[in-house]
Symmetry: C2
Subunit: 220 residues, 2 copies
DNA sequence: AATAAAGTTTAGGTAAATCTAAATAAAAGG
DNA sequence: CCTTTTATTTAGATTTACCTAAACTTTATT
């Protein structure tokens, strides 16, 4: 199956939204994710249905077929491997790599992908903590992790960040929050669900619910 | 200046044809190089003229402006650095990398390009022996080299291959001819300008003028 | 220099991926 | 259950990068 870049981006976003729990991905949600208009999504849905990559009926939302899911995992594999490359080999920081990987992922060559993986030591997780599908499209199960705003323990370790927007990643970087960082929860404020945190010896600071929703943690 | 992939490919091809000696690049030559139709070239020429990347007057052919040349060198830099990466780090062979680099080169990020260069040890030449423009777009002058069919010395070293078609590169690979290979000229046959060669201890073999024209050598 | 041949441009059209505006369907609220 | 709001789709345009066929220049040949 030969996909255009636009088609690949749709497949990737549908996969993402399915993962986030929606049973069928809505036209509007997909338009929001791809920063496009609902009408454009409807057009593309027809095309992807034609290619048997999604199940789609008018007004009924979108789901990936097994074939579509395979395509999604292949794209995600390339994306995450390039992120590893940029961070491990070219010393990019955490928050810079998403946009670049978004471009590099569209070079579809299995040989390149597999050699890149080998070169990187066949990494299992990318710099944001997300698992990397293997060459067969098998995805190591996402590790036990909770969004920070739901975590119960007082002492936590950051294992992933679910929103990859540069704005958030820059914010986290500025606060010193990265993969593996240990956080101590000082206080939870009910009125706005903000959380007061402390890292090691640094002064405490507060983050909004918006932010804590996107920080995945595990208890230590 | 933000260029589309198509525009970048035109700029690159114009640069290549200018280098190959044509004073002004003709519509037909460019169509041939890009495997497209002359009418399409005319369309694009108007657009690139608008963007001040080429000088173009109806029926008078095309030349890069200084700005266009700068753009070309930037693309070529990315292309050749990725070729180095593929060969040096991912163990691709000589003839496989051109097509892949053709895709990777369109990721335009100066930061990525410069970090990649650094990671590779700021190489001066790519795996085919062509010089790599530096970050300022300065191109080390192409080294002293002659096409094999014009070389006079008996013992020669391969320094570059001018035709990058997979077919030729595969042929050379099969014969054991690569960058740095030492060749001994056994005999030159006038009737068809073929050349009998020998590499180290291997049995001698003959190559056509077609091939020898595209192998650049220097005397040892 | 006239004409044939080759090269180039124009005109008009197509496919992909987008958009806006209008129409239609589904969901939510009273 | 009827109506309003929200979500989705359709219809019709637009842009980019192509194409073919016809018209027009330039160059080469007699």
């Amino acid at each position: 199956m030969n996909l255009s870049i636009a088609e690949e981006n749709y497949i990737k976003s549908i996969y993402k939204l399915e993962e986030e729990g929606q049973d069928a991905v809505t036209t509007n949600a997909l338009a929001g994710e791809l920063d496009t208009k609902p009408a454009s999504v409807t057009d593309m849905a027809k095309k992807l249905k034609e290619k048997k990559l999604i199940a789609y009926e008018k007004y009924q939302g979108i789901n990936l077929t097994p074939e579509g899911k395979k395509a999604a995992l292949s794209i995600i594999r390339r994306h995450r491997l390039w992120e590893c490359f940029l961070v491990d080999k070219l010393s990019f920081s955490w928050e810079e790599v998403h946009e670049l990987a978004e471009e590099l992922e569209h070079v579809r060559s299995e040989k390149l992908t597999n050699r890149l993986s080998e070169f990187l030591g066949n990494p299992q997780i990318d710099p944001h903590g997300d698992p990397i599908p293997d060459a067969q499209g098998k995805l190591g199960k996402p590790r036990v992790q909770t969004p920070l705003h739901k975590a119960k323990a007082k002492r936590l370790e950051v294992v992933a960040v679910s929103d990859k927007s540069t704005a958030l990643l820059e914010f986290l970087n500025a606060k010193g929050i990265r993969l593996g960082t240990q956080l101590d929860v000082i206080e939870r404020y009910e009125f706005d669900n903000s959380i007061e945190l402390k890292i090691r010896n640094q002064p405490a600071f507060t983050i909004s619910e918006q932010v804590s929703k996107n920080i995945m943690v595990k208890p230590i």
